[in-house]
């Protein structure tokens, strides 16, 4: 299909790093900084959850169910008397952990296949890109549902699913960038000098991809988080009692009347984190985007393409 291809190829163009000192610009972008701060803080909180959490997130107390927020339970307690704050914190571990793991997985698979397609001849390229086309011919959530449904529930399967349905987009972009880099003079020169392909990849191509991939991953983190929590909400996530935001929301929906706050905490957590990833991703992209000018309005030329790509397939 041409639509995504055109989009992504353009995206690839824009991703060629410029190397100009633009860090200051990023720091001045308040919303990007806010996003980045929230993202970093939340990831830290998730990492430190065992120490930050005031209670054992799985410890039940049937005597104090649905308690209102108090000093001992900052977010109150849930239907089993468990400390909601500790559950949200530990839930971050899993939800964000899966988002990170999924994104890393997608990046690794996508970069590898994209590089192979870009560097190694027609056969590999045709094969990989045609398969990618087929995967891209299905809305990702629907494909993910089928895969996770058939693989069965569980953390590992959820991550496998996410990687399986999202690698094609990455592979495409990386291939596009690879082709671009390949045409550059220094690569041509290296090839002429008889440098092996693997060496070219390692020396010239891969380093040039690092920046764009970081941006892409940050942006995608939000999308992956939405996908993971969506699948988890539908019941394809982790087994109880391990807290996970999507599943917590699903469990809370029967208490919609009695304790809507139990729905709100995980819901707000997901929303905040996706928002943070999106803001940070936008800001990061500006760093590497030659089209964006310092005083430009929010959604300009280069931006809009990737914002659309990044946001459209979220659930």
């Amino acid at each position: 299909m041409s639509t995504p291809e055109v989009t992504l190829r353009q995206a690839g163009d824009a991703f060629v790093p410029q190397g100009q000192p633009v860090l200051r610009r990023f720091v001045r972008d308040a919303s990007a900084m806010a996003g980045l701060s929230i993202a970093v803080l939340a990831l830290l909180a998730a990492l430190l959850a065992p120490w930050l959490a005031t209670r054992d997130p799985t410890a039940t107390n049937f005597g104090s169910r649905f308690a209102s927020p108090s000093r001992s339970h900052p977010m109150g307690t849930d239907n089993l008397g468990r400390d909601e704050f500790s559950r949200i914190l530990h839930g971050a571990r899993l939800s964000l952990g899966m988002a990170v793991a999924g994104t890393v997985g997608i990046s690794v698979v996508g970069i590898t296949l994209g590089l192979v397609a870009g560097m190694y001849g027609r056969l590999a390229e045709t094969l990989i890109m045609r398969v990618a086309d087929v995967f891209l011919a299905l809305p990702t959530l629907i494909l993910a549902l089928v895969v996770v449904g058939l693989l069965g529930q569980g953390l590992r399967n959820l991550i496998i699913t996410i990687v399986l349905v999202q690698w094609p987009g990455y592979a495409r972009i990386v291939r596009g960038m690879t082709l671009k880099v390949r045409e550059r003079d220094f690569v041509e020169a290296a090839r002429a000098a008889g440098t092996s392909r693997l060496r070219i990849v390692a020396r010239h191509v891969a380093p040039n991809l690092v920046g764009p991939v970081v941006v892409l991953s940050t942006l995608d983190m939000g999308r992956v988080l939405l996908a993971v929590s969506g699948l988890s909400f539908l019941g394809f996530g982790i087994s109880p009692p391990t807290p996970e935001w999507g599943a917590m929301l699903a469990d809370a929906k029967i208490y919609l009347d009695r304790a809507p706050q139990l729905l709100a905490w995980p819901g707000l957590s997901i929303t905040t984190m996706v928002l943070a990833f999106n803001l940070a991703g936008d800001g990061l992209r500006d760093l590497l985007d030659p089209h964006t000018t310092d005083d430009g309005p929010g959604w300009q030329k280069g931006r809009r393409r990737r914002r659309a790509r990044a946001h459209l397939s979220t659930t």
Partner: protein, 541 residues
């Protein structure tokens, strides 16, 4: 830029406010108050029901008949199962066992008319339990009850003989099942025009949306107290409740247990509950190789369970503590032969200590290098809270529990039928829709019928627990009177729950109906499949 960030924060705040503010209702459930105004014979009741379970036409392959609550209200069985689990005449006025000890003779009600006006006769009964099955419609009830499609003979226009392939003394109790409801000769109950004999006439049906019924003014029995019944399907229990609260429904089937107290406290609504009908049971896998093959472990599980906590937390008090596998009334006077187990953590610990399970540093027991860790299976529909309550109860006795939620029936079946079953405990709320007292234990536990052999007392050849259970099965089959069958069934439940700890009774849950204050409903049935709407009415607005 700062302004943007501020606006963001504000919006988040609004979102948070929008969903905050909920708190636990301190009100306790009230009993239903009586309706002050008189029932309106021309009224309409809008019912919010669960998922649409009306499977329609066959696929060319064999299709099972639709089995739904209004089946007993559009089509009727020969014998009704009353809400106290006694048998009540339906299309048959009476029935008796013939001297051959095998043939049941049913004397049919005369003067009954089908909704299309034609008279009901013995031919309809013969067709329903006989040739109909050869038209690609298999009734599992017929197979199980009669063993053959040629077992029903017409004696005269209002007398039929049921002669099962082997003697079946439980036959009248079994045919109450709506699957065995009588359809008009030459027709099927899964195809239009759905002409039955029951109190309600079919009007319209839109899959997954609505089913509409109208009072049968020519009904032979007690006529419905209102004119029209429209059923809307809301698979999500929460949205069913909301439908009632927002005034889009007058009556809600299967109200979420957690909502009952708040609803009952609201003077605009009422809650009516049945006697315990859904028994929450924990099945224990006793196959060789499982830790739960050891009786001491099973016993410890049985005594660690805090049934009160289960009832309070999982069902918000809308249940009795578990004692039987089926509704109490199905066992009649013999119900008391099954003892109520109570939480006894000391006993659980002692049993495990004696069996050599030593508490480790993390509080979990182990024997040698074997950790006391059980896998608890929960089907998709089992709420998380139920699994977690069990987990946390067992942890107190030093038993570690890993929860495994099976996403679908197929996965669970695969686990069951593999004959290995990589799990120790299975939580499933079954139904007793049958009048046969032994129905549930025999279905699930007898080696002769059970596909889930891992729970059968005699199931695993290497560890026979004696022939006691199967002997009771034989007794229940051969019982001449219902009381004898009840006694046998009670003994089965005693073996399963009190002696072998293979079935752990957690709770007997009420069926919960919510309704607006102008609706009256006095006869909730513990078995939903057998629910009739004769006691339902709506007052004029």
């Amino acid at each position: 830029m700062r302004r943007k960030a501020l606006a963001l924060v504000m919006l988040m705040g609004i979102l948070a406010a929008a969903c905050g503010g909920g708190s636990d209702s301190k009100n306790t459930a009230q009993t239903a108050t009586t309706v002050s105004s008189k029932p309106d014979p021309n009224g309409e009741i809008r019912i919010a029901a669960n998922e649409d379970q009306w499977p329609v036409n066959g696929t060319g392959a064999k299709a099972t008949h639709f089995m739904y609550v209004y089946n007993v209200n559009v089509y009727e069985p020969l014998v009704y199962l009353a809400s106290d689990y006694t048998l009540k005449p339906g299309l048959a006025l009476r029935w008796e066992l013939q001297p051959d000890g095998k043939t049941w003779r049913f004397f049919l009600r005369q003067g009954v008319k089908w909704h299309d006006g034609t008279p009901f006769t013995a031919d309809d009964v013969v067709w329903s339990w006989g040739p109909r099955q050869n038209e690609g419609k298999t009734l599992s009830t017929v197979q199980g009850t009669l063993g053959s499609a040629d077992a029903v003979k017409k004696i005269d226009d209002f007398t039929v003989d049921f002669t099962p392939t082997s003697p079946n003394l439980r036959l009248p109790e079994q045919i109450v099942h709506p699957e065995g409801a009588i359809v008009k000769n030459g027709t099927h109950n899964d195809t239009a025009p759905y002409s039955g004999t029951g109190p309600w006439k079919f009007v319209s049906y839109t899959p997954a949306q609505t089913a509409v019924f109208e009072r049968n003014d020519n009904y032979w029995g007690e006529k419905p107290q209102f004119k029209k019944m429209s059923i809307r399907f809301y698979p999500d229990p929460q949205t069913r409740l909301e439908a009632l609260k927002s005034g889009q429904a007058d009556f809600v089937i299967d109200l979420p247990a957690d909502a009952t107290k708040a609803l009952a406290a609201d003077s605009n609504f009422k809650v009516v509950t049945s006697k315990p009908g859904r028994n929450h049971l924990l099945y224990v896998n006793k196959l060789e190789g499982r830790i739960t093959n050891e009786k001491a472990v099973r016993e410890a599980v049985a005594y660690s369970i805090d049934r009160k906590a289960y009832v309070d937390v999982v069902l918000d008090g809308n249940a009795e503590q578990g004692r039987w596998m089926a509704p109490q009334s199905v066992l009649g006077a013999s119900a008391n032969n099954v003892a109520q187990l109570t939480t006894d953590l000391a006993r659980a610990k002692k049993v495990l200590d004696d069996a050599g399970w030593k508490v480790g540093s993390d509080g979990i027991r182990s024997k040698g290098d074997k950790r006391l860790k059980l896998i608890l299976l929960g089907q998709q529909e089992v709420p998380e809270s139920a699994l977690v309550v069990i987990q946390s109860n067992l942890k107190a006795a030093g038993i570690d529990v890993e929860i495994k939620k099976t996403p679908d029936v197929a996965t669970r079946n695969a686990l069951y039928n593999s004959g290995k079953g990589d799990f120790d405990l299975d939580l499933e709320p079954p139904n007793q829709n049958d009048g046969n007292p032994a129905f549930l234990p025999v279905l699930r536990m007898s080696t002769r019928t059970a596909t889930n052999i891992q729970f059968a007392p005699n199931g695993a050849p290497a560890t026979p627990s004696g022939p006691a259970f199967e002997a009771e099965v034989d007794k229940s089959i051969a019982a001449k009177t219902t009381a004898e069958a009840q006694a046998a069934s009670a003994n089965m439940m005693k073996i399963l729950s009190n002696d072998e700890y293979l079935v752990i009774n957690l709770a007997g849950a009420y069926r919960i109906y919510g309704m607006s204050k102008n609706v009256s409903f006095t006869d909730p049935h513990p078995s939903f499949t057998n629910q009739t709407w004769g006691s339902l009415s709506i007052a004029a607005k």
